[in-house]
């Protein structure tokens, strides 16, 4: 069975936040740098290309969760650095907090390092651009709290958590404009291969999930409540 190819939620939020920011900052532009098997990327584009305007930079390679984050990040950073006309002093790199390499929580940081970005934020839920170009950023920290930071401005890297924006609705006009660049980008997607050197898996397994569930059907709410309170107190 082939699973549908989609952007994971964090990467999706990052894209929508980037598009929203670009809309409100005249002169800005969004590039979507995406790595995956070409056919999968095409599927992804079918779902996101109608949502927000962007220019695709495609990399044709494995999107397996077991790809080393260092190698994934290397390919992504090279692709970003190679974007023609990109002013790196004004660069904001957005991505999913734990996206690439499927929840590694490492890829974005390495991309930032490779691009020489020292202002990095992870678990971002909110970004405000102040009138002077400085950035105010909310990052998730322990205990349901947010750390509030002020950064002098771009360049910066933001690994997005959920953000606050709803998913944009499909807009066929946006899709038409995007597809002019998406198809050529897919055709010339640079192939990348990952060696996975130095890393050996002794085992990979699904954890045991099945529990013997005792189904309690015939007790009154009062009796159940008593049982639960006793259980909580134990």
């Amino acid at each position: 069975m082939m699973l549908p190819a989609v952007l994971d939620p964090w990467a999706g939020h990052a894209l929508y936040e980037a598009a929203n920011l670009a809309k409100n900052q005249p002169g800005s532009k969004v590039w979507l740098v995406s790595l995956g098997p070409k056919a999968k990327l095409q599927q992804v584009m079918m779902t996101v290309a109608q949502r927000v305007p962007f220019e695709l930079v495609a990399l044709d390679g494995s999107a397996s969760g077991f790809t080393d984050a260092t190698e994934t990040a290397g390919a992504l950073a090279e692709a970003i650095a190679a974007i023609a006309g990109l002013d790196k002093s004004k660069l904001l790199v957005f991505g999913g907090w734990e996206s690439a390499s499927r929840g590694a929580g490492a890829t974005m940081q390495i991309v930032g390092e490779r691009l020489g970005i020292l202002d990095q934020f992870q678990g971002v839920d909110e970004l405000k651009v102040n009138a002077d170009g400085s950035l105010e950023i909310l990052e998730r920290i322990e205990g349901g709290k947010h750390q509030v930071s002020q950064c002098a401005g771009a360049p910066a890297l933001l690994g997005w958590a959920t953000g606050n924006l709803p998913e944009p609705k499909n807009n066929p006009q946006v899709g038409m404009v995007n597809m002019r660049t998406v198809m050529p980008a897919l055709q010339k997607a640079k192939p990348v291969k990952f060696a996975g050197e130095g890393l050996s898996f002794a085992s990979v397994s699904l954890p045991r999930q099945l529990r013997e569930t005792q189904v309690v059907k015939d007790k009154s709410p009062d009796d159940i409540a008593k049982e639960i309170v006793e259980w909580i107190k134990m």
Binding site: W10, G65, F66, D68, A69, T70, A73, E98, R102, G103, A104, G105, A106, Q109, I110, E113, D119, Q120, F121, Q122, L138, E139, R140, I141, E142, G143, G144, K145, H146, Q147, V148, S149, Q150, C151, T162, P166, G198, L199, S200, F201, A202, V204, S205, L206, Q209, L210, R211, T213, Q214, V215, V216, K217, K219, P221, D222, I224, A225, I228, V229, I232
Partner: protein, 346 residues
């Protein structure tokens, strides 16, 4: 020969967090099982002496510290520089660090600087025949691997809650101060503060014994054909207040606010547990009004004892995933639970 470095940061009050002691336990255990290995402690913070003293009786032979006002704040530029300097000074080959938000921000970047590798979501570190292997989770805690690496330094982010905290005693530690030359670029970011709900509105409690999970059923029409949001809100908040449980939520419930549906106002995406949310670790979990889907199951992964209340005896959240499933109306049961809790202290 491996040089094992435990990398920790002091808290604002100068203490070491529980997660740091957990990582210390993992590192000390590894040190014990690797003959000839060295064990070094590296601390970062405005002042680290109190933190070092609190673990002075552990088996480490060196204590390294990066201190000063610049290192009080959790900030990528300064934290990465501090961690890099300590790793170099220790000549560390294996770096064990708690995956706090502060370290999770920088560990992979530091590995890149040092030409090493970082592994995250690590829950076990061991050695056999001189070879180190780690257990870690992939695909948002859906798959667990056992793996080894040849690259060094190998930086390991230990998931908080996955280890027993070390109990090594206090004493007087001699901390070697490591100097870091910070460039202006490292301090372009200033931490303004921490935003948190008011004390009585804080529903996320990582150290709570119980995780209370609410599902979308709380906002749906009940037996009388009506929704009962105010009642649901009162019952849930009352229970949290009395039980001191931490509040988790299914994705479908927290997503409702973005979809214009009736919502429980105290829930946010921070409460979300599961595939696209958090995977908290608590000894017990009680799920209410949830419907079962595989992503939710991930939210249960690290919960010890699990019970659920649902009107659906075939609820996928509970069947095969909970130890006990009560087929009942969660409104009625939880109201009674609150009454009982009002008379009994937890």
């Amino acid at each position: 020969m491996e040089v094992i470095l435990i990398l920790a940061h002091a808290e604002a009050d100068g203490s070491l967090a529980k997660s740091a002691r957990e990582a210390l336990h993992a590192a000390a255990t590894l040190h014990k099982s690797l003959a000839g290995s060295k064990f070094v402690i590296g601390l970062v913070g405005e002042n680290v002496q109190a933190a070092a003293n609190s673990i002075a009786a552990c088996t480490a032979t060196r204590y390294l510290g990066v201190t000063g006002a610049d290192f009080a704040q959790p900030r990528y530029g300064t934290d990465a520089a501090a961690a890099e300097a300590i790793c170099k000074a220790a000549q560390a080959t294996v770096v064990v660090a708690p995956a706090t938000s502060r370290w999770a921000r920088v560990l992979a970047g530091v590995a890149q600087r040092l030409g090493g590798r970082a592994d995250t979501h690590v829950t076990g570190v061991s050695a056999a025949d001189g070879k180190i292997s780690v257990n870690r989770w992939y695909y948002r805690q859906r798959m667990e691997s056992s793996q080894t690496r040849t690259q060094r330094p190998w930086i390991l982010g230990i998931d908080p809650g996955s280890q027993t905290p070390c109990v090594c005693g206090a004493g007087n530690a001699s901390v070697e101060k490591i100097s870091v030359n910070l460039t202006d670029a490292a301090t372009r970011t200033t931490i303004i503060g921490v935003r948190e709900p008011k004390a009585d509105a804080q529903t996320i409690r990582p150290d709570a014994k119980l995780l209370f999970v609410t599902g979308a059923g709380w906002t749906k029409k009940q037996a009388d054909g009506q929704t009962h949001l105010p009642e649901a809100e009162k019952i849930i908040l009352d229970f949290l207040k009395k039980s001191r449980a931490s509040l988790g939520s299914s994705k479908s419930l927290v997503d409702q606010s973005g979809e214009g549906q009736a919502i429980l106002p105290f829930l946010s995406h921070l409460n979300q547990v599961g595939q696209t949310g958090a995977t908290p670790r608590h000894p017990k979990g009680l799920s209410t009004c949830c419907h079962g889907e595989e992503p939710h199951t991930v939210g249960w992964r690290f919960i010890g004892e699990r019970r659920a209340i649902s009107l659906d005896p075939n609820c996928g959240w509970a069947r095969g995933k909970a130890d006990v499933l009560y087929v009942a109306d969660a409104f009625k049961v939880m109201m009674k639970v609150n009454e009982l809790l009002a008379t009994k202290s937890i």
